[in-house]
């Protein structure tokens, strides 16, 4: 069975990569399992996806702990413990990494004994390139398996990208095929890994979990006031601005409706917006009865809240 893991950040197309690869294997008459794993979904958070492919029905499930291939679409994930990029990597695992640094640098830095190659055909650091990371990751993976034809890979791209329209399919085909060819030229290939044997295995280090008082064992978060320290004003793209000539000091509507408690009322009864924490949801503007709150673009102002 082939066991392949993709690592990236939310928005880099790792789920799409796993689906293109899964479909490509399926077209080649493999039994397939593909899935993404994420927690609280958001752009930029570490995400991984995996593909299993074999000639017989697949009984294994969940995260792959003994990968034959690891594709890393974002090299900043390597030092992030939660991303688990290197989990289960051995001398038999091929690592494909999207990086400006040389494969040899990564081999030495991570003390790897298996083959390392850089991902072909993506301009690292170019924001416009992010949309092709998924297809290029899938292409590199498909090419190193040696069992997926270019025709099957193209058919898989068509099937998975179709809902996004023909133009997007064409772009992805072009970039995918280019990366596929470049990877084939690299000459790296992976082999199907074996299953864990019941004859000789590492015994699990089970422990007896004992009683601990609720003072320790209840799931409470002790870290208060973190919301105060988190300057969420940075998130704002639109800022509410109060026209104090029109504010009739109703005292409470804008401040009550503010979901972040970022509007207080001063001694004179006028509302004041805490721009360090206002996220710019503009609910206050919608609520204000005398229409005394207007919207201004954040663009061009200094980040964090102070006037430019």
């Amino acid at each position: 069975m082939y066991r392949i893991r993709f690592h990236g950040r939310g928005g880099q197309g790792m789920k799409t990569a796993s689906r293109i690869l899964g479909t490509a294997f399926f077209i080649e008459a493999f039994e397939v399992q593909d899935a993404p794993i994420y927690g609280a979904e958001r752009r930029g958070a570490p995400v991984f996806a995996y593909v299993r492919a074999g000639r017989e029905a697949i009984n294994e499930r969940g995260a792959i702990t003994n990968p034959d291939l690891v594709v890393v679409a974002d090299d900043t994930l390597v030092p992030v413990p939660a991303a688990g990029v290197l989990r289960g990597v051995t001398e038999n695992t091929v690592l494909i990494i999207n990086s400006v640094e040389e494969p040899e640098t990564w081999r030495e830095r991570l003390n790897l004994t298996g083959p390392v190659v850089t991902m072909p055909g993506v301009k690292v650091g170019d924001a416009q390139e992010v949309r092709f990371t998924g297809v290029v990751s899938a292409a590199a993976a498909a090419a190193v398996t040696g069992v997926i034809s270019k025709t099957s890979f193209e058919a898989a791209i068509r099937e998975e990208i179709a809902p996004l329209g023909e133009a997007v399919v064409d772009e992805n085909l072009k970039r995918g095929v280019e990366a596929f060819d470049l990877t084939v030229k690299n000459g790296v290939s992976i082999k199907e890994g074996s299953t864990v044997s019941a004859a000789a295995y590492k015994r699990p280090e089970w422990i007896e979990l004992g009683f601990e008082s609720a003072a320790i064992s209840a799931p409470a978060i002790h870290s208060a006031a973190t919301s105060e320290r988190m300057k969420t004003g940075l998130w704002r793209t639109v800022r509410p601005v109060i026209d104090y000539d029109r504010c009739n000091r109703c005292w409470w509507l804008c401040s009550t409706f503010c979901p972040d408690g970022a509007i207080s009322v001063n001694k004179e009864g006028f509302p004041e917006i805490d721009y360090e924490h206002c996220k710019g949801c503009m609910i206050c503007m919608a609520q204000c009865p005398p229409h005394a709150i207007s919207a201004e673009a954040e663009h061009g102002r200094k980040e964090g809240g102070d006037e430019a």
Partner: protein, 415 residues
């Protein structure tokens, strides 16, 4: 019939589509949302001729499902975890109405603390509600299970709602090859709902929620519902036989894998059971006489089948992906109650694993087999064990260390 890659969620949606359902009251929750998104797309494009309504809560959603089913139309709905618990009052109520419909539950462990990953405490909280329960271990079984569930729920010997359960992430977001029947094939197995005179209508009101005092009438209604649930054992077997004739896939109320000459058994429910299947194959490679039992039906509980398949074995290791706090594994308790006092009853071992989606490694299955073999030799079971390793506790200790530092800082600030 076409084979394609589908997630468990998409397979559930396909089940509803092929069952040609009329009405889908819905409320989104992770990891179930993709089911109602898929159905919403189909009802919008006209590929599915059904009425879908998003409700303001799961409590209302189940109420709507029950009332609609009482009018004699075919109803589908889906939820998960906290949503199922929020609907709990109505689960018991609509089952009491004897309103047949299918509810897909995508298992996700319960708060607190909050998580998104699966275990079976959510669906087992509905165990005694009167809803029947079918538990799936593959995406194929999810699609097939929805079709089977309608046949069972709507049968006049049963007429009860049924839950089809699939595990979050491990099935809900995982694509596997699934054979999708044509609408014609599905209809051959599952004809339109013959409601046999169920006629709850706005123009001719019926009170479904009668009050009964004194206990006698109440006992009658409750026990009749219990007997209807038990009838589902026979109805399931009949439906599964028809299913196998049309689609060539056989489903028993209990999956029995390499058990015939086995001395030891794993018993599990849901998608993690395929991991146990894999472990059985690896252990068999090394000459171990071991097999797997997996109840597909959990309500009604297939007691007879389990007794027949497990009697005469030397040891049975039940791995529960749930925890009844203050008691232990629910499946362990149920399987033990079936085997206790029977001739040839095996030594029973209890393991708790997979809580909150915690993985169970192949090595852990091998180790469980070893513990079971030892227990059979001693004729005595060890205490129940939580599958939990040294490394996992070390990770928790790190989090506690951070929490303690922060608590200390807060206490300093307070002074």
């Amino acid at each position: 019939m076409k084979r394609r890659l589908l997630t468990g969620n998409a397979a559930a949606a396909w089940g509803a589509r092929l069952a040609d359902v009329d009405y889908i009251p819905a409320f989104p929750i992770t990891p179930q949302t993709e089911i109602i998104e898929t159905i919403a797309g189909w009802t919008d494009s006209g590929e599915m001729d059904a009425s879908m309504v998003t409700m303001e809560s799961e409590h209302s959603m189940i109420t709507a499902a029950g009332t609609a089913a009482a009018t004699g139309v075919r109803v589908f709905t889906a939820t998960s975890s906290q949503g199922l618990l929020y609907a709990m009052e109505m689960l018991y109520t609509v089952a009491g109405w004897r309103a047949p419909f299918v509810l897909v539950n995508v298992s996700r462990a319960l708060a607190a603390p909050v998580t998104l990953e699966p275990d079976h405490n959510d669906v087992l909280a509905a165990r005694d509600s009167g809803f029947l329960q079918l538990h799936c271990s593959t995406c194929q079984e999810v699609l097939d299970g929805v079709l089977l569930a309608y046949r069972i729920a709507e049968d006049s010997r049963v007429r009860l709602p049924m839950i089809v359960n699939l595990d979050g992430f491990y099935l809900s977001f995982t694509r596997e090859p699934v054979e999708v029947p044509t609408a014609k094939e599905a209809k051959a197995f599952l004809p339109p709902f013959d409601s046999k005179g169920m006629s709850f209508r706005a123009s001719s009101p019926i009170s479904q929620a009668v009050a009964v005092l004194g206990g006698g009438p109440y006992s009658y209604f409750r026990y009749e519902t219990h007997l209807a649930a038990l009838n589902a054992l026979t109805v399931f077997d009949e439906a599964a036989e028809d299913f196998s004739k049309i689609f060539g896939r056989s489903y028993g109320s209990v999956e029995s894998y390499r058990t015939e000459d086995a001395k030891y058994l794993f018993v599990m429910m849901g998608s993690f059971a395929t991991k146990a299947r894999e472990a059985v194959d690896r252990l068999r490679d090394e000459g171990w006489p071991i097999g797997l039992l997996r109840p597909r039906l959990v309500r009604p509980f297939p007691a007879e089948a389990i007794a027949r398949l497990a009697s005469g074995k030397e040891a049975v290791a039940v791995i529960d992906q749930n925890l009844s706090l203050g008691k232990g594994g629910v499946l362990f308790t149920e399987v033990s109650s079936v085997l206790y006092g029977q001739p040839g009853a095996p030594v029973m071992l209890s393991f708790i694993g997979g809580l909150g989606g915690r993985d169970i490694s192949p090595e852990e299955f091998f180790e469980i087999a070893g513990v079971a073999k030892h227990a059979a030799k001693e004729g005595k079971a060890p205490p129940p064990r939580l599958l939990y390793t040294e490394d996992e506790l070390k990770e928790v200790r790190k989090l506690q260390m951070i929490a303690n530092v922060e608590r200390g800082e807060l206490e300093d600030e307070d002074e």
